[in-house]
C-alpha cells in the first residue's frame, strides 16, 4: 500500500456523536471505567488467572511459539494474534462466573 500523505477527511464535529447512539455495551463500559470498577475487575481477573495456572500456560505457549519461529522473528503482534484465541478458550468457567457475578452486582448497584 502506498504511503499517502493525504489526510483522511476531518470528520465534521456535529456528525460525530449525534447520529450514533451509544450501544448498551458502550454505556456499561463507560460506567465501569468511570467508577474505577473496571480496574478492580481487571486486577481480580489477573489474580485469578495466575492462581489457576493460566498465566503460566500462556507463557509456555509463547515460549514454544518463539522457539519455533526463532527469537528474532517474533513480534508482540504475532504473539497476541496467536495466543488470544487459545487464551480466551482456556479461561476456567469458575473465573468467568465470578467476574460475571461481579459485573451483575455492579450493574444492580448503579443507575443506568
Amino acid at each position: 500500500m502506498r504511503s499517502s500523505v493525504k489526510r483522511p477527511p476531518t470528520p465534521d464535529a456535529e456528525e460525530e456523536e449525534q447520529d450514533r447512539e451509544p450501544t448498551l455495551q458502550e454505556i456499561i463500559n463507560i460506567k465501569l471505567v468511570e467508577s474505577g470498577e473496571k480496574e478492580r475487575l481487571k486486577e481480580l481477573l489477573r489474580e485469578r488467572l495466575v492462581e489457576c495456572g493460566w498465566k503460566d500456560e500462556m507463557k509456555t505457549l509463547c515460549r514454544a511459539f518463539a522457539r519455533k519461529r526463532g527469537r528474532n522473528n517474533v513480534t508482540v503482534d504475532d504473539l497476541v494474534h496467536v495466543i488470544t484465541p487459545k487464551g480466551r478458550a482456556s479461561i476456567p468457567d469458575s473465573v468467568k462466573a465470578e467476574l460475571l457475578q461481579r459485573i451483575r452486582s455492579f450493574l444492580a448497584s448503579t443507575a443506568l
Binding site: S3, R7, L44, E51, D77, V80
Partner: protein
C-alpha cells in the same frame, strides 16, 4: 553458578526508534510523562483525561490495544493484523512511527508491529511512577500485594499420612544418629540451642563428619593452642558417636570464653549474638584471609560457603527517581516482626492472613523486609543527579541466597532514649517449606518496574529458591531470664532438644512455639541429607559406627 546467556539485555533499537530519537530526542518522552499515571494497584498507564474513554481516531473503537502516537498524540487501536489502525496511522502520516501503549505505558513501533525498548523512556516513566505510588496514612509507600499464593505455603506436610506404627519406631534407642543432649553448664542454653542447630546444618555437618578439619594437623600447625573449629570437631564426633548420654561441651565453652572475654561469665546471653560470634571465630580460623573482613563475598571457608548471602539495597531519590544499588554480604537476615495487619485492598477476597491481632507470619516479615520504605526527612541522602540532599526511598532484596538461610526474628526491642528494653512475645507463624523467590532482587526489582527492560547485571539462579526448615531455636520467658530450646527436623520428624533432654514431638508443638532463629536449608540439600545413612533410625543391634558419606 554456571554462566548462562543473560536473559535480560536491552534489545537493539529498531531503526524507526533510532530515527525518532535523532529527530526528537527525549522531548516526546517528557511530554508524555505528564500523563503517566499509576493506579491504586501499582500499574503504570497513560491517562490523558479521566473524563473520557480513549477512542481510536479511525473507528472510535475503545477495544483492543490502544496506542498514542508520540508525534501527534492521536489514539489508534490495534485489534488484529487485519484491523490495525495504528499501522494505518503510520502509513498515513510520514514519520509517525513510534507510539505508546496506553494501558501499559510501553513503547511500540507501528511499522515493526512490535514492542521496542528504550532505557531513556523507561527512566522517564519510572521516575513518574515512583512519585505517584499510593501512600498509606503514615506515609509508607504501599505497593499493592499481587497475591502470591504459591509461595510460602507448605501443603505437603498437611497431607502426610500419619504412620500408625510410628510410636514403635521412635523409642529413644532408635533415634536418628546425631541426636544427643547437651548439658547446661550454667545458663548455657543459648549455646546449646545454637549448637544443636549447627550440628544438623547439612553443609557444616558433612564438612566436619568427613574429617575436613583435621585436628592432628591443626594442633601441629597452630601456635595458638586454642582452636574453636577443633573443639567443634570434638563435639561433632561426640554427638554422632551413637552414645546417647548427655554431653558436656565444656572445652568448647572454655574456648569460646577465651575468644569473647566480655561474654565469659555465667550470665544469660543472646543466642543470635552467640551464633554470629561463632561463625566469626570459625571463619577466622578456617578462612584464607583471616584479617580481611571485607572478603566475605569471596571467602571460601565452610562458614561462608554455607551461610553467606548477598543483600541488595536500592536507594531512590524521591525528587528525580535516580536509583543507586549497593550489595552487602550477610550470614543471616534479621527480620522485624510484621505488626501491621493492614494491607492494601485484597481484591474480592477477605484477607485470611493476620486476622487475629496477635499473630504475624514469616511471609509477612519477609514482605516487610523487602518493602519499599520512605526514609524520614531526617535521613535525607545525597543524590548524584540532583546534586543535593533529598528525601529518599529504600528497598532491600536478596541478590544471592545462601545454602543455609538463617532468619533472625527481632524479638528484643531496645529503646535507648527510654533506657528500656522489652521482648516481643507475638507469635510468629512460619512455613516448613519456604520459597524465597519473591524476595530475590530479580523478583522485587521486576515487580517494581513491570516490563521495563532495565539491563540486569547478571541473572540470579532462579532454580535454588526452595528451602526446608531443619532447626528452630525458640525462646520462652522474659528478656532477662528466659530459656532457649531447639527443635530439630530430621526426616520430617521433629525432635525437641532442651539441653540434656531430647524428645520426639509433633509438628503442632513446633508451630505453636515462639521462634527466634529459623534455620532453612536449600531443599535439595535437605532431601539429600535425609537419604543419608546417618539419619536412618538405628536398631539397637546395628553397628554403631556407620560410615558417613557426603561432602559439602
Amino acid at each position: 553458578m554456571s554462566s548462562r546467556n543473560p536473559s535480560y539485555s536491552t534489545p537493539k533499537e529498531c531503526n524507526h526508534l533510532t530515527k525518532y530519537k535523532l529527530k526528537h530526542g527525549l522531548d516526546g518522552y517528557y511530554l508524555i510523562q505528564e500523563f503517566v499515571k499509576t493506579n491504586p494497584f501499582g500499574r503504570t498507564m497513560i491517562d490523558k483525561s479521566k473524563l473520557e474513554l480513549p477512542r481510536c481516531s479511525f473507528c472510535s473503537g475503545y477495544q483492543g490495544r490502544l496506542y498514542l502516537c508520540l508525534i501527534c498524540s492521536s489514539v489508534t487501536c490495534c485489534l488484529s493484523p487485519g484491523s490495525d489502525h495504528t499501522l494505518l496511522h503510520s502509513q498515513s502520516f510520514d514519520g509517525h512511527e513510534i507510539a505508546v501503549d496506553l494501558e501499559r505505558a510501553e513503547l511500540y513501533c507501528s511499522v515493526c508491529c512490535d514492542q521496542v525498548y528504550d532505557p531513556d523512556f523507561d527512566k522517564v516513566v519510572m521516575c513518574k511512577h515512583m512519585m505517584e505510588l499510593p501512600r498509606s496514612e503514615n506515609g509508607d509507600l504501599r505497593l499493592c500485594k499481587r497475591k502470591r499464593l504459591n509461595f510460602g505455603i507448605d501443603l505437603d506436610l498437611r497431607n502426610v499420612k500419619r504412620l500408625v506404627s510410628s510410636r514403635d519406631q521412635w523409642s529413644e534407642s532408635c533415634f536418628p544418629l546425631g541426636l544427643r543432649g547437651l548439658n547446661n553448664l550454667g545458663n548455657t542454653c543459648f549455646m546449646n540451642s545454637v549448637l544443636q542447630a549447627l550440628l544438623h546444618a547439612p553443609p557444616l555437618r558433612n564438612y566436619y563428619l568427613s574429617g575436613r578439619h583435621n585436628r592432628e594437623m591443626c594442633r601441629k600447625r597452630s601456635n595458638d593452642r586454642l582452636c574453636l573449629p577443633c573443639d567443634i570437631d570434638v563435639i561433632f564426633s561426640a554427638v554422632f558417636s551413637g552414645d546417647r548420654t548427655p554431653y558436656s561441651p565444656a572445652q568448647f565453652l572454655y574456648s569460646w570464653w577465651q575468644h569473647s572475654e566480655n561474654l565469659a561469665n555465667y550470665e544469660q546471653q543472646d543466642a543470635h549474638e552467640f551464633f554470629i560470634s561463632m561463625l566469626d571465630r570459625i571463619h577466622e580460623k578456617e578462612g584464607k584471609a583471616s584479617h580481611a573482613i571485607r572478603d566475605y563475598g569471596d571467602c571460601q571457608c565452610i562458614i561462608h560457603r554455607a551461610f553467606s548471602g548477598l543483600v541488595r539495597s536500592d536507594v531512590t531519590c524521591a525528587s528525580c527517581g535516580f536509583t543507586s544499588s549497593t550489595y552487602d554480604p550477610c550470614v543471616d537476615i534479621s527480620l522485624d516482626l510484621d505488626t501491621h495487619t493492614s494491607y492494601p485492598i485484597n481484591v474480592g477476597k477477605p484477607s485470611k492472613l493476620n486476622e487475629s491481632a496477635g499473630t504475624s507470619t514469616l511471609v509477612g516479615c519477609l514482605d516487610l523486609f523487602t518493602r519499599l520504605e520512605k526514609l524520614g526527612s531526617d535521613q535525607k541522602l545525597y543524590c548524584e543527579n540532583c546534586q543535593e540532599k533529598q528525601d529518599a526511598l529504600k528497598q532491600l532484596s536478596i541478590k544471592k541466597l545462601p545454602l543455609v538461610l538463617c532468619l533472625h526474628i527481632k524479638r528484643f526491642e531496645h529503646f535507648p532514649i527510654k533506657r528500656l528494653s522489652r521482648k516481643i512475645d507475638r507469635h510468629l507463624q512460619f512455613p516448613f517449606s519456604l520459597d524465597m523467590k519473591p524476595y530475590l532482587s530479580s523478583s522485587v526489582v521486576r515487580k517494581k518496574f513491570g516490563n521495563r527492560m532495565f539491563a540486569f547485571e547478571g541473572d540470579e539462579s532462579d532454580s535454588n529458591t526452595e528451602f526446608e526448615v531443619f532447626a528452630v531455636v525458640t525462646h520462652s520467658g522474659m528478656l532477662e531470664s528466659g530459656h532457649y530450646v531447639t527443635y530439630l527436623r530430621l526426616r520430617n520428624q521433629w525432635f525437641k532438644c532442651d539441653d540434656a533432654w531430647i524428645t520426639k514431638v509433633d509438628e503442632e508443638v513446633v508451630r505453636a512455639s515462639q521462634c527466634y532463629l529459623l534455620y532453612y536449608v536449600q531443599k535439595v540439600l535437605y532431601h539429600k541429607s535425609s537419604e543419608d545413612v546417618s539419619c536412618l533410625p538405628m536398631s539397637p543391634h546395628a553397628d554403631r559406627f556407620v560410615p558417613i558419606a557426603g561432602c559439602c
